[in-house]
């Protein structure tokens, strides 16, 4: 799990162009949207692309992302349960 979390953080940094950030600066349990990291709806769409590209997970409706993208921990859990690659 720890490995997956680190991998996800690196992938998030790359997909969202968070150039000046290091993986350890993203707290695993902190909210990604709103008051946490401050991501928005376009970032959520990028995360949907990330899941499909790297883990073969296809979200049909952007609203599904709301629960999944709460924190890196939530994403990791979802990926572990649903990944097809």
């Amino acid at each position: 799990m720890e490995e997956l979390i680190l991998q996800l953080k690196n992938q998030i940094i790359e997909a969202l162009n968070l150039e000046e950030m290091e993986p350890e600066e993203i707290e695993t349990d902190a909210p990604l949207f709103g008051n946490g990291l401050g991501l928005d709806s376009i970032d959520a769409l990028e995360l949907i692309v990330l899941l499909e590209k790297n883990y073969g997970i296809k979200l049909k409706n952007p609203a599904e992302g709301k629960e999944i993208f709460k924190s890196v921990a939530c994403i990791a859990e979802y990926v572990q349960q649903n990944r097809t690659k």
Partner: protein, 583 residues
């Protein structure tokens, strides 16, 4: 206001001219269906295509079959020609302007040959037909208006209503005698994939305002109206008048509308005030109504704020035509005029189930007299415009232009013409914001914010943007993304930053400016057109200060194209912002 609609032309998914569009609306027959002409992998997506091949359109226009012409230009020329014929105006010795809205321009051709253009010099001429301004010039020429001045507006999906607004302003100011205003947009793989990355395309027939709505269907088409000042106006059903209009910015988000529909509310309120009408004087609203989960409740909130319990008939006709993006404003204006002329309310095709967050649209009414209708048109970046069409004219506007002798003064100015100068971006832009910005957005933000700061203005009354080629860097990246990944797993960030009006709306969001907001894209004339508009706004008292920007960028590939064409190589970056005020 005594600007009269003297003629019209239209081509869209439900018909190639006004009579056939009218027949489809009355028969409640949608033009949305399986993809026939667009060559895209995503043929599972229903679209509202014009039911003509490129060759068939070329034949209609009497153009050589092997000429390479975009669908935007072909459809624009067909509908403009109809408007010219319908208006039957004697244009001899008249000052004529053709104003068109487009964002895609020649993209359907560019994307077809993009990879080949990197090698094949014979294909480089395509590049000269790619930009929005070149497309409008060709539309005017093909319609026999070679001497007309041409202006292109690119405010995404509100472009065509903004064309009609600008045309009315120019006629009112006495700058021109006749205006043909509208918009044209052909379907392209580029924007189909772009909207797809935003996950706002419905895989089924769209259902604006319906509880189960799941997005929009893209469409294509073009429409123009002929406008002329009438010095002895009489009420007319056949040739109604421009009643009033409003152009505002939601200043909320690049791709989403605010929950309370502030921009839409302000646009409708401005239009009513200008027309001297009360909400209860409006019988019909042709809504923007795209069918996306976000647009429809936002627009509903705005309509409820303006009309309260006196809501007129409302319908979205995008279930018939698909969302024709930059052309939608004029296509829906023409549909509204057809409704007025024929005493009916077009149905909100596709609607079945009430959503509490949305208005209840009309499913079509017969024998309804429509004296005043509103046509709403909203675009990415919150470029929101509303237009009122009226059977009666409302009297002259005060002749402000003639009576104003005041001078206009440039009080501040800032230029960036070297990439080195972008390293200071942190002066105004946080790293979280910068991560998404291309160099043009950084430059435009810096010069705009510096010019405003120097002028001592936090929020300008209006923002006017000029750009010949728009967001080249991100457009090119998205084109490469499409080709490299075969239309799959593309980056939404690239698309959302590819439209020309991204710049002006980003400045509006940053300065919280809900005022007039427009983007011109007419090649080398873009900045002069923008400055003329700023002066017009100030002289008519619509703004006391205006931020005007001229922003263009290049890329190594674009520079190599210019070199191979033997043309001057465009600079990697040029951004100039000025603040104008009245003396």
């Amino acid at each position: 206001m005594n600007i009269q609609i003297k003629g019209l032309g239209i081509i869209c998914a439900i018909g190639n001219d006004a009579p056939s569009v009218l027949a489809s609306l009355k028969a409640k027959k949608s033009g949305v269906g399986p993809m026939q002409y667009l060559q895209s992998k995503h043929n599972e997506l229903p679209v509202g295509e014009v039911k003509l091949s490129d060759d068939e359109m070329k034949k209609m226009l009497g153009v050589e079959p092997d000429a390479i012409i975009s669908r935007t230009t072909l459809m624009g020329a067909i509908s403009l020609r109809q408007a010219v014929e319908d208006a039957k105006l004697d244009l001899t010795g008249k000052r004529v302007a053709v104003i068109s809205g487009t964002t895609v321009g020649g993209m359907d051709i560019t994307e077809r040959y993009f990879q080949q253009m990197k090698e094949d010099n014979t294909l480089l001429s395509i590049l000269e037909k790619h930009d929005c301004g070149a497309s409008t010039r060709d539309i005017a020429d093909l319609a026999g208006l070679k001497d007309a001045e041409v202006i292109t507006i690119s405010t995404a999906c509100s472009s065509a209503v903004n064309s009609i607004i600008l045309g009315s302003e120019m006629l009112n100011a006495g700058e021109v005698d006749v205006v043909f205003a509208g918009g044209a947009e052909g379907l392209s793989k580029f924007h189909l994939n772009g909207f797809n990355t935003l996950m706002i395309l419905d895989q089924e027939q769209c259902r604006p305002f319906d509880k189960t709505r799941a997005g929009l269907n893209l469409g294509e088409g073009a429409a123009f109206v002929a406008l002329e000042k009438n010095l002895n106006p009489q009420p007319s059903t056949l040739n109604p008048f421009i009643g009033g209009y409003g152009n505002r910015c939601d200043a909320f988000h690049q791709t989403a509308s605010s929950e309370d529909g502030e921009g839409a509310y302000l646009a409708m309120t401005d239009a009513l005030e200008m027309a001297g009408l009360n909400p209860e004087d409006i019988q019909y609203i042709n809504a923007h109504g795209t069918g996306t989960p976000n647009n429809d409740p936002s627009e509903s909130a705005a309509i409820r704020r303006v009309f309260g319990d006196k809501q007129p008939y409302v319908s979205s006709t995008k279930g018939f035509t698909g969302h024709t993006t930059s052309a939608s404003g004029s296509i829906e204006t023409v549909i509204s005029i057809l409704a007025m002329q024929n005493d009916f309310v077009p149905a909100s095709y596709g609607w079945k189930e009430q959503d509490e967050a949305c208005i209840t649209p009309s499913l079509g009414e017969e024998n309804v007299k429509l004296d005043n209708v509103i046509c709403n048109s909203f675009g990415f970046g919150g470029n929101d415009s509303s237009l009122i069409i009226s059977k009666k004219h409302k009297g002259d506007l005060p002749e402000t232009l003639n009576s104003f002798a005041q001078n206009i003064r440039e009080i501040s100015s800032n230029v960036i013409d070297d990439l080195e100068q972008l390293k200071d971006f942190k002066e105004f832009i946080s790293p979280m914001e910068a991560r998404r910005m291309g160099k043009l957005m950084k430059a435009a933000t810096l010069t705009s914010m510096r010019a405003l700061k120097e002028a001592g203005i936090e929020c300008p009354d209006a923002i006017i943007t000029a750009t010949a080629n728009g967001m080249l860097e991100f457009t090119e990246k998205f084109l490469e993304d499409i080709d490299a990944n075969g239309e799959e797993l593309l980056k939404p960030t690239l698309f959302m930053q590819s439209t020309h009006n991204t710049l002006g709306s980003a400045i509006a969001i940053r300065t919280k400016c809900h005022g007039y907001n427009i983007t011109y894209s007419q090649g080398a004339d873009s900045f002069e057109i923008a400055m003329r508009d700023a002066e017009r706004l100030i002289k008519t008292g619509k703004a006391n200060n205006v931020l005007v920007g001229y922003h263009d960028e290049s890329t190594p590939l674009f520079q190599s194209f210019a070199e191979r064409l033997g043309k001057p190589v465009p600079p990697m970056i040029y951004s100039k912002s000025v603040v104008l005020t009245k003396e």
